[in-house]
């Protein structure tokens, strides 16, 4: 019998669930290799300047210490030819050059690494390294440097204008407001790091925490100028990343240099406070939105400006102002994006990068406008729904956002929403309802999968994909089960190894669309071969018309004309049937505007005198095409909603600008939601196939899960209290 949960659209449990809950899943830091030694970083204690002298003597003579690596003695890195920070692979490279010279670009920058035979000894010895600096004055504050913003080189973030500039100013009803997103730090449970082992002068193996083994491989090969095939990267399990592992960080290169220096494998696991300083963050962003409408609600114009925190040594950009260009039908739109170089580490995408920040501004402003117009915020959005993408002037590949509004409104009980803000109480608490829209590009990249059908009837599929948590392996097994008509327990999907065929990084919600397509095509090719090898009876029929069920292929009309895959292999004397298929996006991206959409609804309680906000109910609706696995997709949406609650109410990494140092760099002081903060979250899917994006019709949903959640909460807080909070997080002090 076919188990529907094992097929596309089912609710299959994770294939690696047991490994994860029993601890059998092995994360990079858990690998032990013979002769392993431990690295601990020494961070700079100034924010900008140069190292005048470094005293490593005490550390070197501490028990168990093998070496103290720094710019003074680190092995030369072939790729570090100039003194400029390296800008390899468009910001995916190591950026800052590890231990290359005595320059300090930000506080906490690694200036040395102690290698010792135990982690504890290395930690202690690291505390003995002292540096003398030549300090320069530094700038870490965005607010006081807004005038230093520069237009980024990134093509997609040049100034954009459609129609007249700042036309919103001429509208009969208009809103103009500033919105502030603080710095957020990814803080996945698993700390960052790497284990590096040289196997020869130009051959290396690493165990990494990465969102793309092939990306890590490429960067290491480029940095050390060794053949790519000589770099093996293992990363089967990742304990959360949220974007922070989309590049190779300088401390990873430093560890590889250390392994070279001591001629032994070296493991580095950074500390929680280093997670704030050297592994990226969601950038602090000041935004302004101007939006104007006619009395009937029709938008006249939208303007959106963003000033974004950036480092001083490379350019980072994200699509903060992107959605403003296409999410609504407005004849006049202009957007401006500026990066503000500061003396801090470079940011890196954090779940819903850019769009999550941008949505807070845009979707708050639309809510503000709805009150000014005295119009329901959903009606206002419906009124401005664009039948096609106004930015590219292309039809949508699919866009069911209006249906998503309806589904969510019904579920949350939108009709109970007080029309007047600050007008309704429940158990002594102000109650409010809010909603907001999210969107993210439905991306697809090229990917390759290898499928091996074995004589025992099992199917092994391999691709160098990553799984930072969404359940990639599970979705891939379902896609294969669907195409092959096989039970899921006969199928194994392996990922996270550079030895496997190419897969892109796991970022931008593109894994199911990209790797899933490759798995789909590999299985289709397998089917074709099976039919060709099956003998005359089936060969005459068209491959597509045949039925593939229970590991057999048969004629649609004649049930008796059926043959098992194993039988086909046996008859042909084949130990195995193998195909490798590359799948690429076609021209569809030029013909259609492809986006996923989400709508978030929340109900909040706000305490009238203490300002405490409690989210009482959340409804997350996704228009993400076909939902391959309803269970893991729901979990993703819930996780995103939880992240959104953190973004709205809690998360903020604070720098003391006098010193350029973070002041709340631990998990006691940097808050993320705990169970008690999380209400019932209902997840609903439009679940309509996108006819163009890929064979499954699946669009990504990892990012849209969070995009729009923060403004939904801010809007609900306004509805409850009449207070518009335009600076996240919405903590009690802002509401009393």
């Amino acid at each position: 019998m076919k188990n529907k949960d094992e097929r596309i659209g089912g609710r299959m449990s994770r294939v690696d669930a047991q490994l994860k809950v029993t601890g059998a899943a092995k994360y990079f830091a858990e690998f032990e290799v013979p002769n392993l030694v431990y690295g601990v970083l020494v961070p700079s204690t100034i924010t900008k300047g140069t190292i005048k002298s470094l005293d490593t003597k005490k550390a070197e003579s501490a028990p168990g210490v093998l070496a103290v690596l720094s710019y003074l003695n680190a092995p030369k890195t072939p790729a570090y030819q100039t003194d400029e920070p390296s800008k390899t692979s468009s910001g995916r490279g190591p950026g800052m050059k590890a231990f290359h010279d005595n320059k300090v670009y930000f506080n906490g920058q690694p200036i040395a690494m102690v290698v010792a035979n135990t982690f504890e000894r290395a930690t202690y010895a690291a505390s003995l390294v002292t540096a003398q600096y030549e300090k320069s004055s530094h700038q870490t504050e965005l607010k006081s440097n807004l005038d230093k913003g520069i237009t980024p080189k990134s093509k997609s973030l040049q100034d954009y204008q459609r129609g007249k500039k700042d036309a919103y100013q001429t509208a009969p009803v208009k809103i103009e407001a500033e919105y502030i997103q603080p710095t957020e730090v990814h803080n996945p449970m698993e700390l960052h790091g790497i284990l590096a082992q040289w196997e020869g002068p130009d051959k290396i193996t690493v165990y990494a925490k990465t969102q793309g083994v092939k990306m890590t491989q490429q960067v290491i090969a480029d940095t050390f100028k060794i053949p790519k095939e000589n770099v093996s990267v293992h990363s089967q399990f990742v304990g959360g990343a949220f974007g922070m592992s989309l590049r190779v960080w300088p401390h990873e290169i430093a560890t590889i240099l250390a392994a070279q220096k001591v001629q032994r494998p070296v493991k580095l696991v950074i500390t929680r406070d280093q997670m704030f300083t050297i592994a990226g963050y969601r950038p602090h962003t000041h935004q302004k939105v101007g939006i104007g409408a006619n009395k009937d609600g029709k938008f006249v114009g939208i303007s959106h400006w963003a000033n974004v925190q950036n480092s001083n040594y490379e350019e980072f950009t994200e699509a903060t102002v992107g959605m403003t260009r296409f999410l609504y039908r407005s004849p006049n739109v202009n957007t401006t994006y500026r990066v503000v170089p500061l003396d801090i580490c470079t940011p890196i995408p954090m779940r819903g990068p850019g769009e999550a920040t941008g949505a807070f501004a845009l979707e708050s402003a639309i809510d503000e406008l709805s009150y000014a117009l005295n119009m329901d915020p959903i009606d206002l959005r419906m009124k401005n729904y664009p039948e096609k993408d106004p930015e590219q002037d292309l039809p949508w590949s699919s866009n069911h956002v209006r249906e998503a509004y309806q589904l969510g409104a019904d579920k949350i009980g939108w009709s109970n929403r007080p029309k007047e803000p600050r007008s309704k109480k429940e158990n002594g608490m102000w109650i409010g309802y809010g909603m907001a829209t999210g969107t993210f590009g439905a991306h697809r990249r090229e990917a390759t999968a290898r499928a091996q059908l074995k004589a025992d009837g099992t199917l092994l599929i391999q691709s160098a994909a990553s799984d930072i948590g969404p359940g990639t392996g599970t979705a891939m097994v379902q896609i294969a089960a669907e195409v092959m008509g096989m039970p899921a327990d006969q199928i194994k999907f392996e990922l996270g190894e550079t030895a496997f065929p190419y897969a892109p990084i796991q970022g931008g919600s593109a894994t199911v669309a990209s790797v899933g397509s490759a798995v789909h095509e590999a299985c289709m090719a397998l089917r074709q071969q099976l039919v060709e090898l099956s003998g005359n009876a089936l060969k005459k029929a068209k491959v597509d018309t045949l039925v593939y069920e229970e590991g057999r292929v048969r004629s649609p009309t004649d049930r008796s004309a059926s043959i098992a895959y194993t039988e086909i292999l046996k008859r042909n004397n084949l130990p195995m049937l193998e195909v490798t298929k590359e799948a690429k996006p076609g021209e569809e991206g030029k013909k259609f505007a492809m986006y996923s959409f989400s709508v978030h609804f929340v109900k909040v309680h706000v305490h009238p005198t203490t300002g405490v906000v409690r989210v009482k109910h959340a409804v997350a609706v996704a228009d993400a095409g076909t939902i391959v696995n309803h269970k893991t997709a729901s979990s993703q949406m819930m996780g995103g909603a939880v992240g959104g609650i953190g973004m709205a109410l809690q998360e903020e990494a604070v720098i003391d600008h006098r010193y350029g140092r973070y002041i709340n760099n631990d998990l006691a002081n940097y808050h993320v939601p705990v169970n008690a903060d999380i209400p019932d979250i209902d997840v609903l899917f439009v679940d309509k196939k996108d006819p163009y994006i890929n064979p499954m019709g699946a669009k990504g949903l990892g990012e849209i899960a969070i995009i729009g959640m923060a403004p939904a909460i801010a809007n609900a807080v306004y509805n409850a209290t009449g207070k518009r909070i335009r600076e996240l997080p919405i903590t009690p002090d802002k509401l009393i």
């Binding site: 202690y124 002594g428 305490h607 005198t609 003391d656 010193y659 009690p732 002090d733 009393i736």
Partner: protein
């Protein structure tokens, strides 16, 4: 962290002897605060004397009250039948602190001696008079959102982070300590101190002393007691402001009151004058508003914590209303 020696004491006497032998040694109880401080390099003892197995973990009914052994776990006290029945305020405060895992490890003595959560205190690269006297106070002109509004000095504006201690100070607790010269008892109000010009000293415990117990007198505050903690998330966060409020009522009239605040000072902030003023008054929002105004006399805020000037009185009113059973 620096390598250290570890010894385990089996009796209070042997613990004190071990300490006398090695003045740079420190006691370790649950270790939930001390180990973090060692990891961050804030403190680096040469020796740890493990006191967690001392036979000091009983919660005993004594004449006119209860004696809680210093080694009792936070969760043990919070779940104790006698405490729940007679001193529910204490159980509420304990349950408002930290997380279930931490409460299962943290001891009563350790909770009292936990150090401030000031970020400058934790970062050895920052100035901090409490960690390193004479280096200055990083928080005073820095990020001081969590800091004190009462009893600050130019040398330190930190708060004591404990919830338990706010209830204990309200309930007239006393601390029983043992030193080389024997036992002495310190009223809870005098146990923690204000920073003054010695911010490195959190309390009046001698360097050579061990906390052995906390005692609570019998109290009339079994019915009308409420611990209200306002924080940035629903659980597992330190107080922005917390209030322990207890009332003894006769009908609607207040016979006696106990009131203390957390998150506002270098010590749990008992409000004895306000308590006195409440006596004889009728419970009402207006009475409580008045009490809250009185409580705020002398408050002074810094750049990021001005909100406490409003949040603190609001929380007092709310806590008193809850204690009195006045629901909105």
């Amino acid at each position: 962290m620096k390598a250290f020696q570890y010894v385990r004491a089996n009796t209070a006497k042997s613990a004190l002897e071990a300490l006398a032998k090695d003045p740079s040694a420190q006691f370790i109880a649950g270790g939930t605060n001390l180990v973090d401080l060692m990891k961050r390099g804030v403190t680096a003892p040469d020796k740890l004397i493990d006191i967690s197995r001392l036979p000091l973990n009983k919660i005993e009914k004594v004449a006119n009250g209860v004696r809680i052994g210093a080694m009792s776990l936070n969760s043990q006290v919070a779940d104790d039948k006698l405490i729940l029945e007679k001193w529910p305020l204490l159980a509420q405060a304990l349950n408002a602190g930290a997380s279930a895992q931490l409460r299962n490890k943290a001891t009563v003595g350790g909770n009292m001696l936990q150090r401030t959560r000031c970020g400058y205190f934790y970062d050895t690269e920052m100035p901090c008079n409490k960690r390193q006297p004479g280096t200055g106070c990083g928080a005073k002109e820095g990020y001081n959102r969590m800091h004190a509004i009462f009893g600050t000095s130019e040398h330190c504006i930190a708060v004591h982070p404990s919830d338990m201690c706010v209830a204990l100070v309200a309930l007239d607790a006393a601390v029983v300590v043992q030193g080389p010269k024997g036992e002495r008892t310190i009223p809870f109000t005098e146990f923690h101190r204000l920073p003054g010009d010695r911010p490195e000293k959190d309390n009046t415990l001698g360097k050579d002393e061990l906390i052995v117990a906390v005692t609570l007198p019998d109290s009339p505050y079994t019915q009308h007691a409420h611990y209200l903690k306002v924080r940035d998330r629903a659980s597992y966060a330190f107080a922005l402001v917390s209030v322990a409020a207890a009332l003894e009522l006769e009908g609607k009239t207040i016979k006696s009151a106990r009131l203390a605040m957390g998150g506002v000072a270098h010590k749990p902030w008992r409000l004895q004058e306000v308590e006195k003023a409440l006596v004889g008054k009728t419970v009402s929002e207006a009475t409580f508003q008045q009490a809250a105004q009185q409580a705020m006399a002398g408050a002074r805020a810094f750049e990021y914590n001005a909100f406490k000037l409003k949040l603190a009185p609001n929380t007092i009113v709310e806590a008193l209303k809850m204690a009195a059973g006045l629901t909105a």
